[in-house]
């Protein structure tokens, strides 16, 4: 369908012999058709007979050879292929956004690759509802795979008692800070209340230091931060669930005071000028290059920040998101259960695919630990991190994981896509104009009711 839209757009131009702007719009259609056919061309019978050649298509989001995960993936796949000479794993490696689009296009024509990537909860629900994925209940019991996962994490991928995907990560949101810049502004310790945070922002600003960095062109970044404020003002997790259950509306004081607090931060000049045109990488780079004092992000950023300029001589520290107006528990975090591997129900080689995924996930934590990518893995990792050369900052983050007493997952993992989009752009608007909290709440409530199923 995305293809159709794009083509009709392009068609509009070509029927008038030329277009200036249609190229990007047409590209999803160009990339949409290939991968599923690879598995379709293999023999149709799905017998597990050992001699038969089997090709499994593995769509993944690790296309970057400099990313440790890329090497990990290739290593495990190669090992499996050596052990099972009749099985060939065909990798379809894409960027996160490309993969999301491609899967949507493939799903529309019912051609899901054998293994693909989905996001937890609300984001994968449409696929599950459409019956595209095979349940993994039996497979996960084999070889003790289920017990390798942290407790509770699989709930985000379970619908009506059936598990449909296995996550590659489990992250929490926290604040990174630049110790040298804090010192320069005369701040001794990271803030423990939101009020202190705002005060510190002002102190940094006075010294001409950029207080916080954010990549708000990718709207989820601001939403992630806002939801952490809401987690505090609500006095605990579950605000969005209460909305879905009809116990609360967005006009609840917890929500409006979260908007007020968030605006306070913006008005204090916390974020860099033009934040809404900075994409994720550009925003993060401000912090990594030591041009901003604080950075709010999921713990997945740890690896990149660890090796950045800002962290020379262990200059970067971390702290938990503070209480807001005396409310909330800093040990409750914004949780980010990672993207996850799901198996197509219509896979031509379902038993082989399940067997491979089982093998892959069993080896995943071990290999991740070896390439220093084990901070934020969804499975239990054995091994001495300190001895393996993980930095002090990484150790601090790992310690934080042990303090986690529950929390919320992001807005777009909880609400349907249309409501999420309305929320994301409403929060983005707070970065560029001062709005009445009641109006923001109303906007949310309206969007929620319009898109309720």
């Amino acid at each position: 369908m995305a293809g159709f839209l794009a083509v009709s757009l392009a068609a509009c131009g070509s029927s008038n012999n030329g277009n200036n702007g249609g190229d990007a719009a047409a590209s999803p259609s160009a990339s949409a058709s290939t991968p599923a056919s690879a598995s379709a061309s293999a023999p149709a019978s799905s017998s597990a007979a050992s001699g038969e050649k089997v090709t499994i298509t593995f769509q993944n989001i690790y296309p970057d050879p400099t990313d440790p995960k890329y090497n990990m993936l290739h290593k495990i796949v190669k090992q499996y292929e050596t052990d099972h000479p009749n099985v060939h794993i065909e990798l379809d490696s894409l960027n996160t956004d490309q993969q999301k689009q491609k899967l949507k296009t493939q799903a529309a024509s019912n051609e899901v690759p054998d293994i693909t990537i989905v996001n937890p909860s609300a984001q994968m629900k449409p696929y599950v509802d459409a019956g595209l994925f095979a349940p993994l209940n039996e497979m996960v019991e084999k070889n003790g795979l289920k017990d390798s996962f942290q407790s509770g994490i699989l709930d985000y991928y379970t619908f009506d008692g059936n598990l449909y995907a296995l996550p590659d990560g489990n992250n929490i949101a926290l604040l990174y800070y630049n110790k040298a810049l804090f010192k320069q502004a005369g701040i001794d310790a990271p803030p423990t209340t939101f009020e202190d945070l705002v005060a510190d922002v002002k102190k940094l600003k006075e010294k001409g230091i950029q207080p916080m960095a954010i990549g708000e062109k990718d709207t989820w970044t601001g939403s992630f931060l806002f939801m952490n404020v809401l987690l505090r003002t609500n006095g605990g997790p579950g605000f969005l669930q209460d909305i879905v259950d009809g116990k609360k509306t967005f006009e609840d004081p917890a929500f409006t005071s979260a908007v007020d607090a968030f605006e306070q931060l913006v008005q204090a000049g916390a974020f860099q000028e033009g934040a809404t045109s900075f994409d994720y990488n550009a925003g993060e780079n401000l912090f990594k290059t030591g041009k901003a004092a604080m950075y709010f992000m999921g713990s997945w950023a740890t690896g990149g920040i660890e090796v950045s300029d800002a962290n020379k001589d262990g200059n970067v520290g971390v702290f938990k998101f503070p209480t807001v107006g005396g409310k909330g528990d800093p040990n409750q975090f914004m949780l980010a259960p990672g993207s996850a591997f799901a198996v197509s129900k219509n896979s031509k080689h379902l038993p082989e695919t399940l067997d491979f995924l089982n093998y892959f996930m069993l080896n995943y934590p071990k290999e991740a630990f070896a390439v220093k990518g084990a901070v934020g893995v969804a499975q239990k990792v054995d091994g001495d991190f300190k001895a393996a050369g993980y930095s002090d900052m990484a150790m601090e983050v790992l310690a934080m994981f042990k303090d986690v007493k529950g929390g919320d997952i992001s807005f777009d993992n909880t609400m349907n896509p249309a409501t999420s989009q309305a929320h994301l752009s409403s929060i983005q608007n707070l970065f560029v104009s001062k709005k009445d909290a009641a109006a923001v709440a109303k906007e949310h409530q309206q969007a929620y009711e319009d898109n309720k199923e």
């Binding site: 009709s8 131009g13 949507k104 595209l132 033009g274 809404t276």
Partner: protein, 297 residues
């Protein structure tokens, strides 16, 4: 056809492959889009027929739709009223005063061959706030015009104009090339005859160049209009429609709705609107130019 001395079947056989491709890749998707526009469908699960609900909602109850239509036409308007006359003016100057014009024309054409992603990144740096090293803002401050500085791409009121400027800059060379070629193709003897009759310089332009360039100018107008209606990539690279829809145009709104909000039916309705506007615009422009051309023939 008989002149060619081949049977109609042969002709059909040669035309057919291309025709099939064209119908399959152009007409069929458009028709499917019109059908999808009547569905309430997330692109994955079960679709529900809702008749013309999507269109009703689009026209009456979508706070982003009409502003994005307005911005789309703004792009087209600026392109036709500023870019094309400027391109024509430059083309005339080049053909009149420059002996070896190839180098100049190629230089103007340069931005067209750059990918939009590159251009977007380039201009984002130029537009950056002064604290991030933005060129324009720094120049303004150096000139003592500090009060004129803006966060060009992230202030809702200026952002769309900032993007329009990029578009104008990028495709100026394209239209200069088209119109320059058009001027070169006007026979020199006409100018010579006019010179004898006392029409020289800009007078000759007024009575010879302008009328004779009309058919070429029409191509420029159609291209720029359709191109503007479809502008999408530049906006995605620079602002992604933000902040808070302030730079959304029809194509980006359609993308957001169908891909991000997963409302494929509704997105198709917007796509249909875009198709209809494109067709209507082409017809209107053709009619208009037919009249103008008639006047001069």
């Amino acid at each position: 056809m008989n002149v060619l001395k081949v049977s109609r079947w042969t002709i059909a056989a040669f035309v057919l492959p291309c025709l099939l491709l064209y119908v399959g890749l152009v007409f069929a998707p458009i028709i499917v889009s019109f059908y999808n526009a009547t569905l309430n469908w997330n692109g994955i699960g079960v679709a529900k027929h809702v008749g013309l609900d999507n269109f009703r909602r689009m026209f009456t109850n979508d706070s982003v739709f009409w502003p994005s239509v307005r911005r789309t036409f703004m792009l087209a308007g600026f392109s036709m009223l500023v870019q094309l006359p400027l391109a024509l003016f430059v083309a005339i100057l080049i053909s009149r005063f420059v002996r070896k014009p190839n180098f100049l024309v190629s230089s103007y054409f340069m931005p067209v061959i750059l990918s939009v992603a590159v251009i977007g990144q380039l201009w984002k740096t130029i537009y950056n706030p002064a604290s991030q090293g933005g060129m324009i803002n720094q120049i303004l401050i150096k000139l003592g015009l500090g009060s004129w500085t803006h966060a060009w791409l992230s202030e809702p009121k200026v952002a769309i104009y900032a993007i329009i400027v990029i578009g104008l800059w990028q495709y100026l060379g394209y239209h200069i090339l088209i119109q320059f070629t058009g001027i070169q193709n006007i026979p020199a003897d006409i100018y010579e005859a006019a010179k004898i009759d006392g029409a020289e310089g800009f007078k000759a332009d007024r009575y010879i160049t302008l009328p004779m360039i009309v058919p070429i100018f029409k191509i420029s107008v159609v291209l720029s209009f359709i191109g503007s209606l479809q502008s999408f990539d530049l906006i995605m690279v620079t602002t992604a429609g933000g902040p808070a829809h302030a730079t959304d145009v029809l194509a980006s709104h359609m993308y957001n709705i169908s891909i991000l909000s997963q409302k494929y039916g509704y997105g198709s309705a917007i796509a249909c609107f875009l198709v209809v506007v494109c067709l209507a615009a082409t017809v209107v422009i053709n009619l208009l130019f037919n009249r103008i051309e008639k006047r001069y023939n």
